[in-house]
């Protein structure tokens, strides 16, 4: 899951990056409004953490611009401005959630997970595809009740496919969402990880859940 953090307090931004990355997120940082707006408009993110009082362009302006462009990326506002008016303004402009500073990191992480799931039309923290169960809170995967151990990258790939279950996801999209923006990668790397995944979840179980769609990408679904 890739997240953009737009926060002008550099110390806080870096701490958020560290904390979120340790929880398996890919995090990009922007320290001012215009930089943040550029990144939000040009790269696909699974969620954006947005501070309101930002230099150059303020947070609400960015949010408004994104929504006017039809960009529906989940936005979680984090701000020290505590008054109800700001909260309402933010939510009215299309923010998906609001967290007042200082916040609890675990709560922030839980809310991000929740936002991303809801944006994909999933409401439970457990994603189920056939006998495959992915718990996004504990980052654990089971198939037919036996636990499967995945590397961080494998998990990210599977979780993204599961969130978009039933939809064809291209290799580029997968790269965009599971690698940091500054990584320049060949899309073949995805094929390598898909292969690892197949070995772990499809090889000893049936039916297979990961399917290749020629010329388009991959799809995770239970086919009868």
């Amino acid at each position: 899951m890739k997240i953009l953090v737009i926060e002008d307090e550099k110390r806080l931004a870096q701490l958020l990056k560290q904390g979120l990355e340790e929880q398996g997120f890919i995090v990009d940082l922007a320290y001012d409004g215009s930089e943040g707006q550029f990144q939000a408009e040009h790269y696909p993110y699974d969620a954006i953490l947005l501070d309101l009082s930002l230099p150059v362009v303020d947070g609400l302006t960015i949010l408004k611009a994104l929504r006017e462009q039809g960009n529906g990326v989940p936005v979680l506002i984090i701000t020290a401005r505590g008054d109800v008016g700001d909260r309402i303004r933010g939510l009215n402009l299309g923010a998906d959630d609001y967290l007042a500073k200082p916040f609890d990191l675990e709560e922030l992480i839980a809310r991000i997970h929740d936002l991303i799931r809801r944006s994909r039309g999933q409401s439970s923290p457990q994603l189920k595809i056939g006998s495959l169960i992915i718990n996004t809170n504990s980052r654990t995967v089971t198939r037919s009740e036996s636990e499967i151990t995945l590397s961080a990258r494998e998990y990210d790939l599977l979780a993204y496919l599961a969130l978009n279950a039933g939809r064809v996801v291209s290799r580029t999209e997968l790269i965009d969402h599971i690698y940091s923006t500054d990584c320049e990668l060949d899309s073949n790397v995805i094929d390598v990880y898909i292969n690892y995944l197949r070995n772990k979840i499809d090889k000893t179980f049936s039916p297979p859940l990961i399917h290749t769609v020629r010329g388009a990408g991959y799809i995770l679904e239970e086919r009868p």
């Binding site: 002008d8 806080l12 701490l15 904390g19 929880q23 001012d32 505590g82 200082p102 609890d104 990191l105």
Partner: protein, 466 residues
């Protein structure tokens, strides 16, 4: 007597008191005057009758007689008619009116409203044969070699009745008049004070929630216009203070939340999993430096709050040497300047003295010099000058070769917590310049800045010379 505190009550009280006193005085004067007139006219009538009686006494061949003509005899014939006479010649009765009926009846000289004009005319009131009040004239004169005394008495009932009627009239009319006038006074008071009541209603509606509401001086009574204007002025001042306090509290809590969030997040991140001692060390150092920032912020806030409360007024103002201020500031910032490779040069006029609080002026100077170094380019310069200006004030100028200030920020940099976009995210609370401004203004001085963005800026602090 207790005079009421309300304006309406007072107006009413004094109007009522005034009206009552005037009316009563008038009534009493009128009553007394009327009574006087009645008595005077009776006395005049008695006197003219006496003159007629003297004409009726005549000497008929050696015998003095008095004969009553029929014209005036009428009233005197009927017993106890209220019209009486008795004429004495020497001590003997010469003639008596039949109306006296009782021959022994006598009018005693004296009684009430007695007057003796010294030429043998005695006027007095007495009680007549029918127990009625009578007015009596006892008239002595000499004629035919004898002394005559004519006593005339006339009932006062007509006159008294007239006075009584008048008194009754006064007793009836006075209270009604007083009441009517008081009622009018009440109405006048009410209508005079009506604008004040609506004024009050408007004021009562203004609370701390709608402090931006104002009275409309055009709509208040002419006499209340200046009151409305000064009330609006007061509201403006209060509103300003109220708003700036509110903003300060909001800004302060916002600013304090930022380091708090860093600390909290730092803790949360460290606690996510087991860490190496090096990582714990780094985290604790980070938290420590944030608490130092917070401490400075809180100190600055307290300092500002004390400046706002006018603490400066209670401190000792004295002559402060300008060279001392500057050399202290450069001494304290020396290591900072060395780290950044900034050259500081100072040129001041000799023996410059300003009048103020030493510690506060030291703080202000230090803040400006620190800023000049902090926002300078590496290897830049800071030039400090102090001189008497044309208006006899001491101007301290701090010129730097730093990032400068955009024209849009020129007025804002002295605002609390304001940080120009260029310096955001760097060290500093955004309070330094507003502290300088508060200090300078508490000394009746001025602070201003001119700048060329990206090249240089020059802060000028003007203070009263000692």
């Amino acid at each position: 007597m207790l005079i009421p505190r309300s304006i309406a009550g007072r107006l009413l009280f004094w109007q009522t008191a005034g009206v009552t006193v005037i009316m009563l005085t008038l009534g009493v004067i009128l009553y007394v005057e009327i009574k006087e007139i009645v008595f005077a006219s009776m006395d005049r009538a008695l006197y003219s009758k006496v003159q007629i009686f003297t004409g009726l006494i005549h000497d008929e061949r050696g015998t003095v007689k008095m004969e009553l003509s029929d014209i005036i005899a009428g009233d005197y014939v009927i017993p106890r008619s209220g019209h009486y006479y008795r004429v004495l010649k020497g001590d003997a009765v010469l003639a008596e009116s039949p109306s006296l009926a009782d021959n022994n009846f006598s009018f005693a000289a004296g009684g009430t409203r007695y007057s003796d004009n010294g030429v043998g005319e005695l006027y007095f009131s007495a009680v007549g044969p029918a127990k009625e009040s009578v007015r009596v004239l006892q008239y002595r004169y000499e004629a035919f070699g004898d002394t005559f005394e004519i006593t005339l008495a006339e009932s006062m009932s007509d006159g008294i009745a007239m006075v009584e009627v008048f008194r009754g009239f006064l007793l009836l009319v006075l209270p009604i008049g007083i009441m009517l006038l008081c009622l009018t006074a009440w109405r006048i008071t009410r209508s005079a004070l009506a604008p004040l009541a609506s004024f009050t209603t408007t004021i009562e509606k203004i609370t701390h929630r709608n402090m931006d509401e104002r009275l409309d001086p055009q709509k208040t009574a002419l006499e209340l216009t200046s009151l409305a204007v000064s009330f609006n002025d007061m509201l403006n001042r209060l509103h300003h203070v109220f708003e700036s306090q509110k903003r300060l509290v909001a800004d302060a809590s916002h600013e304090l939340k930022t380091p708090l969030t860093v600390i909290r997040t730092q803790c949360d991140v460290v606690l996510l999993k087991e860490r190496s001692p090096v990582e714990y060390n780094e985290a604790i150092s980070g938290i420590r430096s944030e608490t130092l920032n917070m401490t400075q912020l809180v100190n600055n806030l307290l300092f500002l709050a004390r400046l706002d409360a006018g603490v400066m007024g209670g401190l000792k103002f004295m002559s402060v040497n300008v060279q001392d201020l500057i050399s202290r500031a450069t001494r304290l910032t020396e290591s900072m300047a060395v780290r950044k490779g900034v050259q500081i040069s100072v040129s001041t006029e000799d023996k410059l003295q300003v009048y103020g609080v030493q510690s506060a002026l030291e703080e202000a100077t230090l803040n400006l010099v620190e800023n000049a170094i902090r926002y300078n380019r590496t290897g830049g310069e800071v030039h400090i000058t102090a001189a008497l200006n044309t208006t006899g004030q001491v101007a301290i100028e701090i010129h730097d070769t730093g990032i400068g200030i955009g024209s849009e920020d020129n007025d804002l940099i002295f605002e609390r917590f304001y940080r120009a976009a260029a310096v955001r995210g760097t060290e500093g609370s955004g309070l330094g310049l507003s502290i300088v401004k508060s200090i300078v203004e508490a000394h009746d001085g001025e602070i201003s800045v001119i700048s060329e963005p990206g090249k240089w800026s020059r802060f000028t602090m003007t203070l009263p010379s000692a």
